[in-house]
Point group: C2
DNA sequence: GCGACAATTGACAACGCTGACAAGTGCAGG
DNA sequence: CCTGCACTTGTCAGCGTTGTCAATTGTCGC
């Protein structure tokens, strides 16, 4: 029950005045006096407004530096149009992903003197409820924009609502980049292709793919890129596939399935690390040693990639960079430079789970 | 280079006015008018100040409910002593731990109409630098208090500085609870003992322990609790020990070491999940099947506990609850109810890595 | 029923900053 | 030298809330 006035049931005790504001903290007045200019001029310099002479700017910046002045966010927010808060809206249950994204967004906020808020919305609920939640969020504490993480970045009702409300938002790894809101993502297709080339170069010719959730676009692109690159490299045979649902247990099942297919693959590409870890177990259960008997490649370079043996060769997804870029996009608003999708570079992380295929017997 | 006035090198483009404040949003004035009382009375009700008659309170609360009023944080912070922001200060590289703690703190903030800030400090640096960082944090954006996560919660210079500055703080899993700052933690000793009893009941009589980093107090307590309970249960033999450093790779080495000791343990207690996962690998490399040939118990119930096969039996650490409790302690300041340490309950999570010992041959 | 005292309520000035608008300044062209 | 215009700089009134202090009410003892 959202009670705007705290929870009436448990009076949180009368607040004793506390030292929130450093007493006698220096303000814009001090800077203005020191620089011998007006208040507004200091404000102009701080906000990089146009029509400020170099001389004045220099004077003010020097005074700011000398006094070690830091503008008060609360006052700026109260007086102006900005709140100096952006929010990362997430639903992704993966702590690894969320944490990294958030870390990147946080860095961006620090760089821009913003605060980062975290909000969660359950994307599985009916549209109407999602909108209601969103509206509550908006009312409850204003913010200058949202970083939308998947799958939130692809829910039409979310996008439409935000647009209708005129709230800025950036989509992370959007399924269908559009001009309406900028997005940051990575080239999943290219990364899938890179995995294919890596495996091919190692000498593999019989492949298996562990696919992801049906509605997960990135997983589909990784698979497609992999398959396309294989075809381009001259591969003609059948590629076995099994769905691992991006989960450990699903990876075990899918791995076992792939191992049972004829002819048995010598290399398996799992479209995320969790399912790759599961596949690793399946291999062990089948009496196969990775990478001597069979090679395995994951995707994400998540925590689990180094919590299994052998360490997983995988694709580093620049999640933190995406968080940084998305947050920056939100704050560096000059209003119009919105490329539909900015792609961050992925990177192959070669560890120990890939080797040349065993000799045929 | 911390530049208070954004980065001079890359002008973030002149900010175009944006819709931060929902236009025509309702304020305290509206509530006051509707309830037919003064502004200050509304303020009193909202802040649960004393000396408010029930009649007035009822009137105001009704008006608030009818108007769906939400106080403006920026204005409150500007006018009053509180900033309505608390910060989780962390250095713990484990995304799992940090994420959970943060999630708990976040929930608490939502419940109290606060914002959560995240700050990071490198605890490995010299004391002087740590203090400088802390001071910068304090100056840069005020907040009403810090949640100190380990190992930050045990650095004397951090504690002293915060106390000297009069900034409230709560310690999470503190090494030496003191009356100076409240702490929340868990009973590591008791949890270690619980593991011992579980293994003993399963029939094990030869044990090994994978210890944690030397300076990690919780790891030491887990070990001690385990050992003490064993002694109490009547165990007299030697308990093999090896240091796993709380890491996967360290766990592999420590596991191998333990497996080589004579007589070989039939059950191993790893003081965290990562090293337990490593031990699992060591067992596999030694040709031992878990849990048929050897039992293994982890600690933390972290993500990896379900990313290995078999799933690890482990101890659930109420990290999120600790985050919630710590944040709540910061916000429910009535100034004096500070128990040195509030212990949150742990829970044994029995999964698949423990079984009765194999028959002697 | 009166004064003293406590409990309750209200008026009003900050809090630190920005937006709108006014005022100055310098330069080209007449 | 003056006018007009573009560029700079300054003045001032809030933004929505809380702290201070004064004003109003209610209560109690005698």
């Amino acid at each position: 029950m959202p009670d705007p006035v705290q929870d009436a049931a448990t009076p949180p005790a009368p607040a004793k005045p506390a030292p929130a504001r450093a007493a006698g903290s220096i303000t814009m007045h001090d800077v203005a006096r020191r620089a011998g200019v007006s208040l507004k001029s200091v404000s102009r310099v701080i906000n990089r407004e146009p029509h400020v002479s170099d001389k004045l700017r220099t004077k003010v910046e020097q005074a700011i530096a000398e006094l070690d002045y830091v503008p008060d966010t609360a006052a700026r927010s109260l007086a102006g149009a900005r709140s100096f808060i952006i929010s990362v809206l997430f639903d992704n249950p993966s702590p690894n992903y969320t944490m990294k994204l958030q870390a990147g967004a946080y860095r961006a906020c620090v760089d821009h003197q913003y605060h980062l808020r975290i909000d969660r919305i359950d994307s599985a609920r009916p549209d109407a409820e999602i909108v209601a939640e969103l509206a509550a969020l908006l009312r409850n504490g204003r913010c200058d924009g949202f970083v939308l993480t998947p799958p939130l970045a692809d829910i039409p009702v979310v996008l439409d609502f935000l647009q209708a409300q005129g709230v800025r938002h950036v989509r992370v790894a959007p399924e269908n980049p559009s001009a309406q809101a900028p997005g940051v993502g990575m080239d999943d297709t290219g990364a899938g292709a890179a995995v294919a080339r890596l495996l091919w170069r190692a000498g593999h010719r019989r492949f298996g793919v562990i696919t992801g959730p049906a509605n997960h676009g990135a997983a589909a692109r990784r698979r497609l890129g992999f398959l396309a690159a294989l075809a381009e490299l001259g591969h003609r045979g059948h590629v076995a596939e099994a769905n691992g649902g991006f989960a450990f247990e699903g990876g075990i099942r899918a791995g076992a399935q792939l191992l049972a297919s004829q002819p048995r693959p010598t290399a398996i590409f799992a479209t995320n690390d969790d399912s790759a870890a599961g596949a690793l177990v399946a291999c062990a259960q089948a009496g196969l040693t990775v990478p001597q008997d069979i090679s395995l490649c994951g995707f994400d370079d998540s925590w689990v990639a180094r919590s299994v043996w052998p360490y997983l060769t995988t694709v580093y997804q620049p999640i933190e960079e995406m968080g940084y870029a998305a947050a920056t996009l939100l704050m560096d608003r000059d209003g119009s430079d919105a490329p539909p999708l900015r792609q961050m570079p992925y990177r192959l992380v070669e560890r120990d789970s890939i080797a040349p295929p065993p000799h045929e017997i």
